[in-house]
Symmetry: C2
Subunit: 336 residues, 2 copies
């Protein structure tokens, strides 16, 4: 049994009110009593219980964080940003992962709401028309989406379509013409589709022809043989490959290199996410970079503001950037 404020009061020979004051507003207690109480606190190793405080009606200072995965570097970096901002603002985070699974999402939401979190940060597969989010709005708990981008809800993200457009435009500037997109299943997340639209925008602006995206299972550890064949056959293979995320890009880089292709000479690769670990590849993975940690931090800040002002959190679009060169460096002598 951990000591309670009563034990401290008893040991110090004062009332619990005085103990509370000593700990919260020491200047409202006489120096002598203050010392006695502090002595008792030290003896017992006492710490005020947040549970008691929460019950009293204070905010819980807990933020629920609900993400599809934790080990994925994208989300890991994001959580790091959230955690830093949360600590700075005096919150703690309750972390739950969902694998985009509706049942787990529902369970996580229930648990978090029962814990009376002050707010939630989450990423879902499709932000419009997600039953969970509607339920969440009904409860009135403030929440912000990260990575999702949806006009009707508070979101913190990059401009997925614009970012993809910029990245593919850079490929075109670098001299690539036959550009194909490799994506996780479009149905799996709304971002995939937005990025494909951006890809189309860039090609259209350059008068080039867009092709349907090659869709692969997001978690696969190898590329389907047919996809690999399409990418390696010297007759049919594209100039450049735009990958919907960095993990896919790294996967494809390794498989193409093992198939004997030289990157970016035989084929250029551009990823999306800007993962740190991409800079450890050789060639360095070119990528459309999202500021993952900042996305998380910004979501947390937006949420904090909303909590304090009792208002709806505001959406934010953070700037993306391009990491060029490396796997998408311009190639001078390209036979046409």
């Amino acid at each position: 049994m951990t000591a309670s404020i009563k034990d401290v009061a008893a040991l110090a020979g004062v009332s619990i009110a005085t103990v509370s004051r000593t700990l919260n507003t020491p200047d409202r207690v006489s120096p002598a009593t203050r010392d006695t109480v502090r002595q008792a606190v030290a003896t017992l190793g006492f710490r005020l219980s947040r549970i008691g405080q929460q019950l009293r009606g204070d905010r819980s200072r807990l933020i629920g964080v609900m993400l599809p995965s934790i080990a994925s570097p994208v989300f890991a970096e994001c959580v790091e940003g959230i955690e830093a901002a949360a600590t700075a603002a005096g919150y703690q985070i309750l972390l739950m992962s969902t694998a985009y699974d509706g049942v787990r999402e529902q369970a996580a939401l229930d648990t978090l709401l029962r814990q009376r979190v002050d707010g939630l940060i989450l990423t879902v597969a499709h932000a419009h028309e997600h039953p969970l989010l509607d339920e969440l709005e009904r409860t009135g708990a403030p929440y912000v989406l990260v990575y999702n981008q949806c006009p009707h809800r508070p979101c913190v993200s990059v401009d997925n379509r614009g970012a993809a457009r910029d990245g593919v435009a850079a490929l075109i500037t670098a001299g690539y013409r036959r550009i194909v997109m490799l994506s996780g299943a479009m149905a799996a997340s709304d971002r995939a589709w937005q990025r494909y639209l951006g890809y189309g925008d860039a090609l259209a602006a350059a008068g080039l022809v867009a092709t349907p995206a090659l869709e692969v299972d997001f978690n696969s550890v190898t590329l389907p043989a047919v996809v690999l064949a399409a990418l390696t056959d010297p007759e049919t293979r594209p100039d450049a490959l735009f990958c919907g995320n960095d993990r896919l890009a790294m996967l494809v880089m390794r498989q193409l290199q093992q198939a004997g292709l030289a990157l970016p000479r035989d084929i250029a690769i551009l990823g999306f996410d800007g993962l740190d670990v991409g800079t450890l590849m050789s060639p360095v993975l070119a990528s459309v970079c999202q500021p993952n940690a900042r996305l998380g931090a910004m979501a947390m800040q937006s949420l904090d503001l909303a909590i304090r002002d009792d208002a709806a959190p505001v959406s934010r679009i953070l700037p993306h950037s391009l990491r060029l060169g490396g796997s998408a460096a311009p190639v001078r002598f390209r036979p046409d």
Copy 2:
């Protein structure tokens, strides 16, 4: 204001006890009342507050997790394991990162203990003689270390020394002779030293000579010029390089490749951690693999058992494995 059990009771026209029973032990309530209460619960969107329950003296079902970093894949994978096991056992995790900084560690510990976590999972720089851990033991809160390996405390880890020995022995078996170790600062973590000892063991067993480890700053994004020079100069460079962790190994792989060396022909690389992302490199990063997610899950399970039996958590050494080939494949034609 979220509804409380009183609101439900009022709406349903029953006492709060009946509401509580309806929610916790529905069979002890008459079907008619049960329906009325459930109706009221639904109308108000009511969920029992964990705060009230915790206050009542139940366990908080919260586990504090305190790690040096979240974005590092090693810890990210570990957190994923912890979270899965925690959810399975009915806990939630409160995540805090410390960067091995004593001040942050102390602050995190205070916050977590005030939240009355049922137990803690943590990683520190040096497990023996860490003031925080002594304080923690005084509080009586159950805790388990992950990654740390220390005879006097509950730890879940691999056998760092043995694992390093096995890895380096495999390099020797593959034909490498002049093997050097590259490590993060030994002072930064106890594991670094343990791994260096394992390196020494393997060399000694083969009658080879160990050299002092090359120490570099763990977070650096490039290798110091002098280290790079030592590794690239054809006169002085070693056969094989054993890196204290995978991040370092990937860093060095890229820099050596950019310097024009062929891996593993000119120099073999062996990492430590077994990060998934290493398999995306080319050549695939050979590594001494820790089961990161399982380490986390096992720590959580051990903690859960300890909490339930009100006993001290038990230490566990999990088996390591080797991922060979790739950057440490045997080289047949090596000029001597």
